[in-house]
């Protein structure tokens, strides 16, 4: 029997009003403006854009405020907003080789065309809390250095010259890139679809899986061939114009992971690759994505699938933090009727168990009750 239970409208309305109050906090503290979040919590904004799978800084900042800084809640809000908009089309593929580079480092080549450019990095900081920042002091302008516009070819092109590295991943000629926002996930999946899922995947989940490969669960000897961060141009083909219309630029982080590979029945010894590409400045995420991409290519490269990070269905089915939080958090919603049924069942099983274990005591109880 299903019993509908109503109630709680007033409690819900009041709870949301209380939420709005607590979100605002102490009224004597100024309200945060979205541009403050965009400018000063930029990497948090980037994470919401990357995992919310929507490039729009102001919307991500709004989501962060509305979620009181709860990143997964903010990502959820952005995902929900996305569904309200029509889609104009697919852009032309971005060319990271022509990126306006803000950071580019390689762990495999010291001297590579374009050089090692550190950019605004946390690397080499001492990770000491800075009391001056708490005091809100002035910050010095960055230094500038004259530079010739030097091309920065992707590092993969350098190894490719020797023929020791596999080429960029190709798909069959007639392959149309899959889209997980249009078609349900199916396993096994093509690498392009996997990359789409990884790019919006939870940073913590992918980081832990990437870490597990380094610790020996699907070891694949990774080197950071290159990490680059910067702005790339977006263009869209539209019927009303005879050329691809320029939309502006987006900041992305790209990671080329280079992995030693001793060869298998399917491929000769060579360097293989894992690839990461994410919205915003999200170096850790791009690296984790590249590690997972490589691990998930186990079957393609003829490796034994022995670890979690190589298990496509496991990784991709659990990488989306909006799905994950939805299913975990729904447990707190009313399950009164379900639980009532379980309760009856456990009571009955317990009575049967006691009757089996200790028939005399049950008899005693019954008599006492009578």
């Amino acid at each position: 029997m299903y019993v509908a239970v109503k109630g709680g409208e007033a409690a819900i309305a009041n709870a949301h009003r209380l939420l709005a109050d607590r979100r605002r906090g102490d009224r004597s503290v100024p309200t945060l403006r979205l541009d403050q979040i965009v400018e000063q919590l930029a990497l948090g904004v980037d994470r919401v854009m990357s995992e919310g799978s929507l490039y729009d800084r102001e919307l991500a900042a709004l989501a962060i405020v509305q979620a009181r800084g709860d990143m997964i809640e903010a990502i959820f809000l952005v995902r929900a907003y996305r569904t309200t908009l029509p889609r104009f089309g697919y852009t032309k593929a971005v060319d990271t080789g022509t990126m306006l580079v803000e950071r580019r480092v390689s762990a495999t080549y010291k001297d590579l065309p374009g050089g090692q450019v550190l950019g605004p990095t946390f690397d080499y900081t001492h990770r000491l809390l800075d009391p001056e920042l708490a005091a809100g002091g002035d910050v010095a302008e960055p230094l500038q250095r004259e530079s010739e516009a030097e091309a920065m070819p992707r590092v993969s092109a350098i190894l490719a010259r020797e023929g020791l590295i596999e080429p960029d991943g190709e798909m069959p000629q007639d392959h149309i890139p899959g889209d997980i926002t249009r078609e349900p996930l199916e396993f096994p999946m093509a690498r392009d679809i996997r990359l789409q899922a990884l790019s919006r995947g939870d940073e913590g989940f992918l980081l832990a899986l990437g870490y597990s490969t380094q610790r020996g669960y699907a070891r694949n000897h990774p080197f950071v061939g290159e990490v680059r961060i910067g702005e790339v141009d977006l263009e869209l083909e539209v019927p009303e114009l005879p050329f691809a219309v320029p939309l502006g630029t987006v900041r992305v982080t790209e990671c080329q992971m280079v992995n030693q590979f001793k060869g298998s029945a399917k491929a000769p010894p060579q360097f293989t690759r894992g690839y990461g590409l994410v919205f915003g400045q999200s170096e850790r995420k791009a690296m984790a994505m590249a590690l997972c991409d490589r691990a998930l290519r186990a079957s393609e490269l003829g490796e034994d699938v022995v670890a979690a990070a190589q298990d496509e269905e496991f990784v991709i089915s659990h990488s989306d933090n909006v799905q994950a939080t939805g299913f975990v958090e729904h447990l707190k919603l009313p399950h009164y009727v379900d639980f009532q049924a379980e309760l009856d069942l456990v009571r009955r099983m317990r009575a049967e168990h006691e009757a089996r274990e200790n028939p005399a005591k049950v008899e005693e109880k019954r008599e006492a009750a009578e």
Partner: protein, 153 residues
């Protein structure tokens, strides 16, 4: 003629790129300084939607979908009948409308020069300056390796 057409298309595209990357405040300020007309009929939008951003596997391989971005577009018709379009990242409808009018005005010989010199040129100069500054700031963080000589000879 064919060469001229290609040059015109390249120039029109470059102008659209400049407008797409500029802020509405800068566009509106230069617009009124240049005294450009802003009368136009909206044929479509301004409306906000999504584009799916594509990357390539390994940087240069097969395309894959990375995620979506907000884009606002508008199509306008000037009183003369000239039609103009705009597509730009973000959700700024006022900007999309102005940029579409600019695209239409640029296609009219009477307005082309004003659009180029009074509107687009200053916007482009500001974008180039910002890009050069960013490039120079990045260049200051470039690592200069030097070799330590150890031992004698």
């Amino acid at each position: 003629m064919r060469g001229q057409e290609a040059r015109d298309q390249a120039e029109r595209k470059a102008i659209m790129a400049t407008l797409a990357q500029s802020s509405v405040d800068d566009i509106a300020r230069l617009w009124s300084e240049a005294g450009l007309p802003s009368e136009a009929e909206l044929l479509r939008g301004p409306e906000t939607g999504l584009v799916t951003v594509r990357g390539r596997i390994g940087g240069g391989g097969a395309p894959f979908n990375v995620g979506e971005a907000t884009v606002t577009r508008a199509t306008v018709r000037l009183p003369s009948g000239q039609v103009g379009h705009c597509y730009a990242l973000g959700r700024d409808k006022r900007k999309a409308r102005l940029a579409a009018i600019a695209d239409a005005l640029w296609q009219e010989p009477a307005h082309r020069e004003t659009v180029e010199t009074r509107l687009v040129a200053p916007l482009r100069a500001a974008l180039v300056e910002a890009r050069d500054r960013r490039r120079a700031e990045t260049a200051a963080t470039k690592v200069d390796f030097f070799t330590m000589v150890r031992g004698e000879d």
